[in-house]
Amino acid sequence: MEQIFFFVFAAIALVAGVLLVAFRNPVYSALSLVAAFFALAGLFVLLNAYFLAAVQIIVYAGAIMVLFLFVIMLLNLGHAGALERVAGKYRRVAVVLLAAVLVAQLGFMAGRHWAGTPVSDEAPLFTDNVNAIGKLLYTRYLFPFEVVSLILLVALIGVMVMVKRDRGGGESRSR
């Protein structure tokens, strides 16, 4: 069973990686990268790294890829027409499908909640994993942890300085 899952996720990750390089349209590349991230999250689950799988989806597939897509669309590299043709053809199907998935998930969670059973059968496993990572992070790796916070702060300030346009003409060097 585990082997089957491994090969499925590995195949998805490899195909998505090749497509990422092969697609001409950057939007398609970004979407195949999302597929690769999801496959890697699945592999993390197989490796018992539950917390990292969740973080992988939230941080990579969520935050970082949104940033990528945002910049691609901001710079208008995606040839909006082509994307619109594909999206227009499948939009209704996609909306119905995603709505069905959402309703199914909410129904499952609500059913579990009202029935009084824990939301996941694996809850102890998951909390153990978070527990171990949290303990390591705040004891043995406390200093690197603080350094990471500094890196994020520096990146934040650097980005704002770099992208900011000087508004008032005058002696602006970068337009």
């Binding site: 585990e2 990422l20 490796l47 990292l52 990579y60 910049v71 990572i133």
Partner: protein, 101 residues
């Protein structure tokens, strides 16, 4: 572990190789960035595999740090790309030759 650790290592190496190939053959700066992300993820997979194999949590903590650093890297890199596009109206890395002698 039902799946041999070698399989994970091979998969990680293949993903890394795909990322390197992308960086080498693509000209679009954003796609190059995404290939770098793929390489970082291949290394993350290696970290998690080894954490499982060695039975220690440190590998997972390091994946955490890699993710934070790559988030910062993406933010700065995309800001550079936006500034580049504003000044040059292109993302082709072949035409950005300010630092080439």
């Amino acid at each position: 572990m039902a799946v041999p650790v070698t399989y994970y290592l091979i998969l990680s190496a293949m993903l890394f190789a795909i990322g390197v190939t992308g960086v080498l053959i693509r000209r679009n700066a954003i796609v190059i960035f995404m290939c770098i992300e793929l390489m970082l993820n291949a290394v993350n997979l290696l970290f998690v595999t080894m954490a499982r194999y060695m039975g220690s949590g440190s590998g997972q903590v390091f994946v955490f740090f890699v993710m934070a650093v790559s988030a910062a890297e993406v933010a700065v890199g995309l800001a550079i790309i936006i500034a580049l596009y504003r000044n040059r109206q292109t993302l082709d890395v072949g035409e950005v030759n300010l630092l080439k002698w």
